[in-house]
């Protein structure tokens, strides 16, 4: 991964955050989440199955998302993920944390 110069490896630990954010708009299936992240990030963030699906399992285990089988646009069986209340809370606190860290990194990069 990462040989493609327009793709960027996702910072460790931020994938969960990104997935949760992608689900705020409504339920999505796995492929939908990957698509969404790619579109919103102007093709910079590319998430592979090898990291996406384990991350989703982790989120399920923590109770931050829920999964239900449903029918997709082309009428195939697909698993849709929905963010839970606990997930929203987690997202809010992680977002704040992330912003704080980015701010700090920015500061160091600009001044140091």
């Amino acid at each position: 991964m990462g040989a493609n110069n327009k793709a960027i490896e996702i910072l460790p630990g931020t994938l969960d955050l990104l997935i949760l954010r992608a689900l705020v708009g409504g339920p999505r299936h796995g492929y939908g989440i990957a698509q969404r992240l790619r579109q919103v990030s102007d093709e910079v963030l590319q998430v592979g199955e090898s990291s996406l699906y384990p991350a989703l399992q982790r989120l399920l285990l923590n109770g931050w998302v829920r999964a239900e089988w449903g029918a997709s646009d082309n009428n195939r069986r697909a698993r849709y993920y929905t963010i839970t209340a606990a997930g929203r809370k987690q997202l809010a606190s992680e977002c704040a944390e992330f912003a704080r860290m980015m701010g700090a990194i920015q500061k160091v990069l600009e001044t140091a």
């Binding site: 991964m1 493609n4 299936h29 796995g30 492929y31 990957a34 590319q46 592979g48 199955e49 090898s50 990291s51 996406l52 699906y53 384990p54 399992q57 982790r58 399920l60 285990l61 923590n62 109770g63 997709s72 195939r76 069986r77 697909a78 698993r79």
Partner: protein, 869 residues
Amino acid sequence: MTLSLARFCRHLLFFSRRDRLEQELAEEIEFHRALKQDDPAMGNITVAREESREVWSFMAIEHFWQDLKYASRMLRRSPGFTALAGLSLALGIGGNAAMFSLVNTLLIRPLPFHQPDRLIRITSVYPVAGLVLFQQESRAMDVAQVSSARDYNLTGQGEAVRLAGSAVSANLFSVLGVPVEIGRAFAPGDDRPGSDSSVILSHALWTSRFNADPQVIGRVVTIDNVDRTVVGVMPAGFSYPAARVQMWIPKRVDPSKVVAYYGEVDGAFSPLIARLRDGATLAQARGEIRAITAHLDSQFPWPMPRNFNLDARVISLQEDMVGDVRRKLLVLLASVGIVLLVACTNVASLLLARATTRRKEIALRASLGAGRFRIVRQLLTESLLLAFTGGVAGLLLAFAALSIFRSALPINLPGLAEVAIDVRVAGFVALLTLATGLAFGIAPALSASQIDLAQTMRGGGQRATRGFWARFRGWLIAAEVTLTVVLLVGAGLLTRSLQALVDIDPGFRPERILTVRIAPNQSFCKERARCIALYDELLRRARQVPGVLDVAAANTVPLDGQFPNQPMDIEDRPHTADFPAPMFWAGAITADYLPLMRIPVLAGRGFSEADSATTAGAVLLSESTARRYWAGLNPVGRHLRIAGETRWRTIVGVVGDVHQSSLSGGVPPGIGGAMYMPYSQSVQAGNELPAAMNLLVRTTGDPAPIAQQIRALAVEQNPNVPVGRVEAMESIVSGSISDFRSTMGVLLSFAITALVLAAIGIYGLVSHSVIQRTYEIGVRMALGASKPNIVGLIMGQSMRFVAGGVVAGVGAAVAFARLMSSLLYGVAATDPVTFAGVIVFLFGIAAMASSAPAWRAAQMDPLKSLRVD
């Protein structure tokens, strides 16, 4: 991460459904793939699946399970090592488990009485008058009295039987705080004359002789020809003051019988025990004991030794009951602990050796991505599995070990019967297993995980000696040697003591002598002539049994635990406070006793048939008694009198000393001499003829076949007379030191175990270092080193560690020997012969263990060894 309960529950759910989850995941990824066909392929499905699976499962447990499977495969692959390590651990753990159960029950667990920490024993013994005075004057204590166990005849309840009982003050059970199982305890006043004909049975006696019949309460039984009413039965497991006591009768408190009240009649001088009253302190009790004892001394109607009993101290009842067994238990505990340490050290050293030879395998695992922690954990799992194997086997061994250890303790120790391998012991074994597994596993695991990957994989692994860990192994061997020296010295000292005991001349010859205990009721001998006739007839008939050489009768035989004694008046030596009536051991014997026992007459004459009930009183003195009271004079023709009698008896001879009380020749405190009376003239406490006697028979050959005939003869003579133990004199003699013999046996087996382990350790160390130094040895030989040079080189290295261990071991052994000095006889704790012997022996064994691999090293073909990996 929050590890909440809800998350844990979900985790369990996921784990249980992981097969379905896997299917769903596959379907999901399939769907994903279908949608992104236009995309460049990215992502790895296998990784996605594996990582998801990790999320669902409990990795710690799965890893542990993997480790366990791997460990058991490793252990099975080297069965020799596994068996050796497992067996040595089993020996160590099993021994410790058995020892723990003994120490826990006897020393740690509180006595099975109410508030046992408030119970005390007043050392020294008091007459009944002392009990009464203490009960009247003490404010801090409730005082009770217990006579030591004595044999009684129980008749009127099936076959006549002889049982151990104890005479106790009426308040004993309330002082101990033990309720009866059925019936009632003795009531206040049950010890007054007229109302003292009751008895309380032990649970064991109640079940064995009375079919556990609850109607037994109120029944009348005959004990030593006195009718007594059963008032109560004690609960199972209650045993006091000795394990063999089966019944308790009230002690008679009768101030009108001055001699019995103040004197030593029938074991009246007996221990006082007490319960501290609420709020009372030990210091108060001590003060009271001093004051009351002084008061008692002033009340005696005859002169007592100056400051009689004023040295009485207070000890806890537990301390009193365990007594000198405590020291022996501690010695055994220390020894068995040492065995386990040696076993651990040995296994650690073997594992260290394996760790170096397994270096390649471990390097392979490391290069495949196993972290250092993971490798250490893997190796520790192996050690723990090994320890667990040893622990399970050890628990089984503990049952056998317990019965062996028990034989090293006095059989009459209260509580010994309750010692068992139970849940507590199993728990102890579990802890011990865990601790040993970690103890011997941690160093090898650490050493193995310190791996220079590149170097090992390149292949130089076998040759590179890791300085620190190789030296560490040497130290382990030195430690093993140290511990082994300690045990060998301990066992050596005990062996020498036993030899000294066996070599003792007890003053008689026990070979081919049979003894038969015959115990009519004392009342049978109220009429002296009847008793004399009984034994005359018995002796006459026994003499006619084919194979019998000599026969005799005596009130006691040496070393059988009986010790009849009498206070004596000595001619021309008036009693004063500084010279109270000395207590003499008092034998009552028939004329043939001395020649039968081969006890020499040193001056004057022995007894003959002419010394009868109607002739003048004659006594014999032991040699040391004669020397003590008539130093330099001839005692023959002088006179003695049993205190309280009017007639003087004439000393007619002096005979050799006999070790009556213990094989080592010790006598109970307060005994000032030994004398013999002809049976027909003899008296025992209460001025009656001794009723219970021993028939002694010397046979021409093996006494065993004759035993039954003699016994049958005695039963036939008078079926109402219980015929007790039939025992060869030699077995009485060896029985008197059987617990000593067992102690020595136990310690010796510990020492041998440790020695074998140490030898294996040394052998392993040297063989391993030879393998590691193969290349170096090849070089040396190629450069011209001779075979003896090589042997010397290899052995020198290991013997340095052995020498260090021996030096440390001698130091530790001196301390250990001091701990066990009270168990020794006839040999000093620093006995140079033992120490020198152990040092030479150990060096010999060590040299043997290391010479074999060293010799093999010298036989190597230098060309081959240079080519080694």
